[in-house]
Amino acid sequence: MTAVQRLRSAAVLSPPLLWTVVFMFVPYSILLVYSFWKTQYPIFVPAFQLGNYMELVRDPQYLRVLLRTLKIAGLVSFFALVLAYPYAYFLVFKVKRPSVRLTLYMAVVAPLWVSYLLRAYTWKTILGTQGVLNSFLVSTGILSEPSSIFLYNQAAMVLTLTYVFIPFMVMPIYAALEKIPPSLKEASADLGENRLATFLKVTLPLSMTGIVAGFTMTFCLAFGDFIAPFLVGGPDGVMIANVIASQFGAALNWPLGSALAVVMLVIVLGIISASDRFERLGAGRLT
């Protein structure tokens, strides 16, 4: 490499490198440091102790919230997958006209451009006791009086989060299905496999990387959400991000909040690296 080339590489590389170090690596490190600090109300003092982490283990409410968050994120990813897979499959294998395919693809991605807060808000207006669904059911006579079962519970949260994050499931599955050569399905049919067997033995395994990528995205995003719980979650709908937010807000215990955030970061990184590993293994098997 000549000196000029090296200089040019450095010029291209240094702004993003500097940015990621200053605004990502340093803040994450500081968060980690904070998680060992002590709180002496109303200030935080530097220390190196595991008290915050011990507190998370000692008080069962943290474990309960963590398990609830994992459960909700899992359910959201599951329902998003159940809806997204047939949709992507239909687009890739059943729709013949490219323009129709593009339109239907855009139809599912387009809501990402509409404010996330408003997409969650609209479910609040639909599901509430005075809301659209209740008043509709009462006016048609299906319900005799408005019911409060629709809003402020975990089901409402799973519904809202599935609605909000489903595009992240469709996109990677669509990309994976699109890459499957039609000849493989034809070969499977020629060899006498019926359509179900072809799906289970050819299509599904080859789209697994898309499923894993979509599942990872949806799970991580739902796992870290604190807006849907606030809008539609109710008392038993508090998620881990809400607890972190309150430690940085009203509860004013940044060190404890940092420790919780570090736990969350570790879980998310674990999921991402497991998914990366799977993708590499999967890619190896395909070639």
């Binding site: 940015w19 605004f23 500081i30 509409v114 808000y121 005075q130 940044w254 969350m264």
Partner: protein, 286 residues
């Protein structure tokens, strides 16, 4: 009708006929199931947005069925809501600068990932792409702790830095994906013809990824305009539009919010059309 198209006589014919009909019925039934299922998913996606928009025109203050009449009152109220207008300007300001920053940092990052080998490239890639799956709250509080530790005051400026960091990954993935599809031979031909690296960059590489850069910029702008989790922790006294909506939601729901929502839906639709045109631009160029 020609002889060849007539049904062959004999015992087999009705059987095949029946099998054919059964097969066709089966195919029809299958198609019907597909259409109903896909229609249901589209309804799931769009009925809530329809509800959001429809109730912005509803005469009554309560959001219940049946709708009571048509009005533009809620929009008129918006036009007089100074806090909301100020918040909208703040959001436009934040989104513009955050988008400019993500492009200035993100395009070189994508170029570096595509074209340069350097030690620590793997770590760099992981770090840059992390915010795509990383919950915004972590970006928000980690930057909050840093700004506080170094004694910075929170303002729209810190929000801009937070957005740029969180959205960098969006720009990098989109631009990098396009760079991967630009044939290497273009740059090779360019340098064979005597162009230097800078000329190749500005005359060959950047024009080839132009629509991806614009598309990524539009997406980044929209996402920044709507952003909450990072803004929540990094904003000072000034509200952005989503933060303003969030604070009104604490007091209860009103059709005014639906009116804001309908306007955002309309603006998003326009941006989507622009990016769809850019996408078509790309496919016709191939």
């Amino acid at each position: 009708m020609s002889v060849f198209e007539q049904k062959p006589a004999g015992g087999i014919a009705p059987e095949t006929d029946r099998a054919d009909v059964a097969k066709r019925l089966g195919a029809d039934a299958e198609a019907a199931v597909w259409y109903i299922g896909i229609g249901a998913i589209l309804a799931f996606l769009y009925v809530p947005i329809g509800v959001l928009v429809a109730y912005s025109f509803n005469a009554s203050r309560s959001l219940s069925w049946p709708m009571t009449g048509f009005t533009f009152d809620w929009y008129a109220k918006l036009a007089q809501n100074e806090q909301l207008i100020e918040a909208t300007w703040n959001s436009l300001y934040v989104a513009s600068f955050a988008t400019a920053l993500t492009l200035v940092i993100g395009v070189p990052a994508a170029l570096a990932l595509d074209q340069i080998d350097f030690p620590g490239k793997g770590v760099f890639r992981k770090l840059v792409l992390l915010p795509i799956a990383l919950p915004g709250i972590i970006t928000g509080i980690s930057m909050l702790t840093m700004f506080r530790l170094f004694g910075f005051n929170l303002s729209l400026g810190t929000v801009i830095i937070g957005h740029a960091t969180a959205l960098l990954a969006v720009v990098v993935t989109q631009v990098y994906a396009r760079l991967q599809r630009v044939p290497r031979s273009y740059a090779e031909a360019s340098s064979d013809l005597g162009a230097n690296g800078l000329q190749t960059l500005f005359l060959i590489t950047l024009p080839n990824i132009r629509s991806a850069v614009i598309g990524a910029g539009l997406l980044s702008f929209t996402l920044s305009f709507d952003e909450i989790p990072v803004t929540f922790f990094l904003t000072g006294r000034d509200n952005t539009l989503p933060m303003y909506i969030w604070s009104t939601l604490r007091r209860g729901i009103t059709p005014e919010i639906n009116a804001v929502g309908a306007l955002i839906v309309a603006a998003s639709a326009i941006l989507i059309l622009i990016s769809a045109v850019l996408l078509r631009d790309r496919s016709s160029a191939r």
